[in-house]
Amino acid sequence: MIDSLYMPYLMRIEKITCEAPGVKTFMLKFVNEEDQNNFAFKAGQFGEYSVFGEGESTFCIASSPTRKGYIECTFRQSGKVTNALAGCEEGSVIGFRGPYGNIFPLDEWKGKNILFIAGGIALPPMRCVIWNALDTRENFKDITIVYGAKSVNDLVYKNELKEWEIRDDVRLVTTVDPGGETPDWKGEVGFVPSIVEKIAPSAENTVAVVCGPPVMIKFTFPVLAKLGFRDENVFTTLENRMKCGFGKCGHCNVGKVYVCKDGPVFTQAQLKELPDEY
């Protein structure tokens, strides 16, 4: 039987983790083992997750390609499909199409320092590449993660944050917006861009990966420029509205670029060439 591009894999929800209010992580396994064996993806790619009868929604694959046998996604309950997903229980079957989009060029980053800067619920696209880097740790020099959220409650992946905290081959800096701290909070207090400026990582032989809400990105780029990062070495992901995921439906088109095909990973240098429609 020939299937169409639009046919999803059936995936079973193996495990649900509540990350923060309204934010959940699903661990998904292929219902059909053969699909599992044929499936491969790389860090940075995304998929279309669906609840049958409600529709499809775009999330990145939040687990690392180095972890085989399952994929994970983390989503914020915000609209029609994400609400329906949030209502799913462990064991339920949902749809998944993918992987789509380009990748973080980890191969090109070999021998370099990596600085990850994430805000809010934007850690998921990052988590995939962070784990990928940590699982192939020998390929890279220093790894620094700066992660901020509105409040302590809003930090996602709390278990992993703990894990990264104790590892001595990665430097983790967590921060919450002023007023979002709890009495026992030991991390930083302040907005992500100012924390980046404060810890002032060296731009020498370093790539920066920035994911987060538009305001955070907007204020982080100038800070990185000030620290000496070149536009080609600053990576981010775009979230244009998507439907198909493979360059046909037109929704994600910005200038000559289809974000779903040529992205979602872009360098700041590439973004400067694009019209401001994201």
Binding site: D3, F52, E56, G79, C244, K256
Partner: protein, 341 residues
């Protein structure tokens, strides 16, 4: 293959139509309703409309239907079973009476649906469709095929192109493809051998109004122009222009649920709608109509030629005829060409 030229007597068209029907082919042809011509499955030759410049909607619907179901699902507790696209349901279809500006459009759609990932559903429909087109002997002020690389007698995209030789004349049939030859084989007695015929003098005269290469080059530096707002202040932001267009292919993906069962499909969408790009957060990268109008022109005359090596417009003029606000694409393109930058 080389184009074969045959003569079809004017009374033979009906016979050809009947033979197609006898061969169990679904025939889509222009039919008049409420004063508008549109493509419908037709059972009798006499119901085919004749006196119109162009159908209101393009014939893309036959290959890219306004609603295309991909899959059916059935839920059972936590389990789900799905059934994919039914390729058997795509039967041989004859598209009768399309104009060259539609047949060229199928090539454009083909580029969109196959430039990278291959869309098998689109391809299944295209491969099962036989395109019998008719040259234009009339045009109106909205037509501009000759400015975008077409012409009223273009064979591009047709399986057989018929050209009426004079007001009450017979037809020249140009058999362009193997699919066309197969049709000739069904009714070979109707396709007579002919000496070379000059078809040009029977074609509509559509003057060239602009140079699309020049427009493309200009658009590269035109993104921030104030022209977009000036041009589009009267645009109402509907989907009429995109829906009637033979090359617009943007779509939405939607589920249709009926209790435990339901389906998933794609349906036409348009970059002119305010909701087209809006995020769940409410952020809208194209928040005003001038940005959306700019996208329409840029996509067709800059982004598509760059990415897909085809222009996104065949000059059929439908969008201008259909627009409730009289946004005339030809007029706007000419004014872009005239701007000095």
């Amino acid at each position: 293959m080389n184009i074969e030229r045959r003569l079809v007597r004017k009374d033979s068209l009906e016979k050809l139509f009947d033979i197609l029907r006898q061969n169990k082919k679904t025939v889509f042809a222009p039919v008049m309703k409420n004063g508008k011509a549109s493509f419908k499955p037709v059972g009798s030759f006499s119901s085919i409309a004749e006196d119109y410049i162009q159908t209101t909607q393009s014939s893309k619907e036959v290959i890219f239907p306004r609603v295309e179901k991909f899959l059916d699902y059935e839920k059972n507790g936590k389990e789900v079973s799905i059934k994919g696209f039914d390729y058997q349901s795509v039967t041989e279809t004859v598209l009768w009476g399309v104009r060259p500006c539609d047949t060229i459009g199928f090539g454009t759609l083909n580029s969109i649906f196959n430039w990278d990932f291959k869309d098998e559903i689109f391809n299944a429909r295209l491969s099962k469709t036989i395109i019998l087109s008719f040259s234009c002997n009339k045009s109106d002020d909205y037509c501009f095929c000759t400015s975008v690389g077409g012409n009223p007698g273009s064979t591009a995209g047709s399986d057989i192109l018929f050209t009426k030789l004079g007001a009450d004349g017979d037809y020249l049939a140009e058999v362009v493809t193997e699919k066309g030859q197969a049709i000739v084989a069904l009714a070979s007695e109707l396709f007579e051998k002919t000496e070379s015929v000059e078809k040009e003098k029977f074609l509509a005269n559509v003057p060239v109004k602009f140079n699309q290469e020049e427009i493309r080059k200009k658009l590269e530096k035109f993104f921030k122009s104030s022209q977009w707002v000036e041009q589009s202040l009267k645009c109402l932001g509907c989907g009429a222009c995109a829906f009637v267009c033979p090359t617009c292919a943007c779509f939405d993906i939607q589920d249709d649920a009926h209790g435990k069962i339901g389906s998933r499909m794609r349906c036409w969408d348009s970059c002119g709608y305010s909701q087209f790009t809006v995020h769940t957060s409410g952020h809208n990268p194209r928040s005003v109509q001038s940005q959306r109008w700019r996208q329409r022109i840029m996509h067709k005359f800059s982004y598509m030629p760059e990415r897909l090596s085809v222009y996104g417009c065949t000059g059929c003029g439908r969008c201008s005829r259909a627009c409730p606000a009289d946004m005339n694409i030809l007029e706007h393109l000419i004014s872009i060409q005239e701007v000095k930058i």
